[in-house]
Symmetry: C2
Subunit: 354 residues, 2 copies
Amino acid sequence: MAKTIPISLDVMGGDNGAEVVIPGAEIALVRHPDIRFLLYGNEKVVLPLLEKYPRVRDASTFHHCDVSVAMDAKPSQALRQGRWRSSMWRAIEAVKTGDSAVAVSAGNTGALMAMSKFCLRTMANIERPAIAAIWPTARGESVVLDVGATIGADAQQLIDFAILGGAMARALFGVEKPSIGLLNIGVEEVKGLEEVRTAGRLLRETPLRSLSYAGFVEGNDIGQGTVDVVVTEGFAGNIALKTAEGTAKQIGGYLRSAMSRTFMSKIGYIFAKSAFDRLREKMDPRKVNGGVFLGLNGIVIKSHGGTDAEGYAAAIDLAYDMVRNGLTDKIAQDLVHYHRGRFADAAPTPEGDL
Amino acid sequence: MAKTIPISLDVMGGDNGAEVVIPGAEIALVRHPDIRFLLYGNEKVVLPLLEKYPRVRDASTFHHCDVSVAMDAKPSQALRQGRWRSSMWRAIEAVKTGDSAVAVSAGNTGALMAMSKFCLRTMANIERPAIAAIWPTARGESVVLDVGATIGADAQQLIDFAILGGAMARALFGVEKPSIGLLNIGVEEVKGLEEVRTAGRLLRETPLRSLSYAGFVEGNDIGQGTVDVVVTEGFAGNIALKTAEGTAKQIGGYLRSAMSRTFMSKIGYIFAKSAFDRLREKMDPRKVNGGVFLGLNGIVIKSHGGTDAEGYAAAIDLAYDMVRNGLTDKIAQDLVHYHRGRFADAAPTPEGDL
């Protein structure tokens, strides 16, 4: 029998907490019966719900936690009040102890990142973590990182992000050598951020075994799916992600109002309903729910706080895929290889840039 | 009789140069018969075209220029080869001499910005120019700046951009006190760029007469039209703009493929054709063609290089509106008022932070 996949859930996280998490776990479990959940939450809330979802109950171990991190808690506050004992902390800690292969939380991003950093620590040779988003494109999906963990990034950190995102693309898309691009701007006068230019030069000079460097990409390339992995620092990445979400919503609004404006267009809508359903599915933000925290000693998935059960299930699916496809090992291999290459190339003095 | 509006055109700029510029000028002239054009370009190309467009010919003075700036010319190269004598330079120079009220070019952005800076210089008290885009939103239109002139901006420069963008919004939308927001990221851990936080604090502490400061906005707020003016430094602004363009294109592609997939959806398309036409019009990038260079001693409008006559006419319309609504005066007034306020508040020593 295939090994089961242990996934820890912060059941209290998210705008609707357990009411979304447990039904979401049920949906994911139907798709992946080999998941075993480690549930962390308040027993008064969770146990009655589990009675309604016996499938989840039977596939889970439940751990009571007194504390739940509030959705508006500041990271420092969340750490102070929630360390060691909150459902969020303990879901992450299960990854650290090895009881769980991956943690999922719909709790607030700042708190989740602060706790994940504190509990799991960054990997050797990785200075700063990144949040990777899966971006639906005209050609399929791409990985975009960082979308908000880290403001600013020097050239080395951008290369770290390239390695991390490349490993994720290999795990997720099954491509052997994902293409990666550095996000930059197209105005000729300013050839972009210096850090981005330096990272580009380094990637050209010493190619990575696991990646195919495709050069600079611009904002419009992301949606076109020009590359498998788009690398940027977190400020621009976050703004790109939210701008795309806003634009999709805006166009959805235009479309709805256009289709309901005249009698003819309403009839047209009825005829084309299956096409619109397909379009809606394609643009459904729940489908790609899940920011992946990379660069820590363990994988944590952040679900949208306001998602529903279907969206939460998508975040669990993503967690599952990451584990099944060996994301952690892939990252470790790529990092070892990269740093071995740097050792080999470096001057043989111990003071060399290792 | 109302005063005519003199507009100088770099007829050779753009992927298709005069072939687009002259017909575009014709379209704009029909809408605004009070425009007088100053045309700069190569006589061999332009004069035969003017024979085909007598309306433009009769409303223009033509100035032959030997040199045209190539679309792929580097800014330094463009300056070296094109200063004093290229069609691009001379269209800008006409603004400096006062012969023209505004210059329009579809030439390459880097060269156009370099020449505009060199020829017009930045305004007193403005350190760096910005490019402002008009962004179609769910509620109408907003001004977004900077979208690529300047990478990075300190707090004072962001406030300068707020004043410039606010004056443009007043000229364009006819609102008395436009709302402005500073683009920032929503991840709680990192409260955003320090420069942005400082600018926000300054705007709260010493409100501007001409603007209503609405706080931080995120990427998704742009398309929702949350504020009239979105202020950001040029790297993130450019990436936001191009990402939105890419997303719109991507969704347009989804929609087309969905509507042509089945017989029923094709029938639905026919019924709803007017709705789709309306949607297409709403999403037509030509409608909002024109980046406005702000902060220089004169207004320069950059048209998309690859636009057609209709798009070029939209850039001329924008130039016209800016002049008719007194953009330059509004900027000057707002700047004077802002700096007077700072004088009044400053310590009475001449060494004060003026």
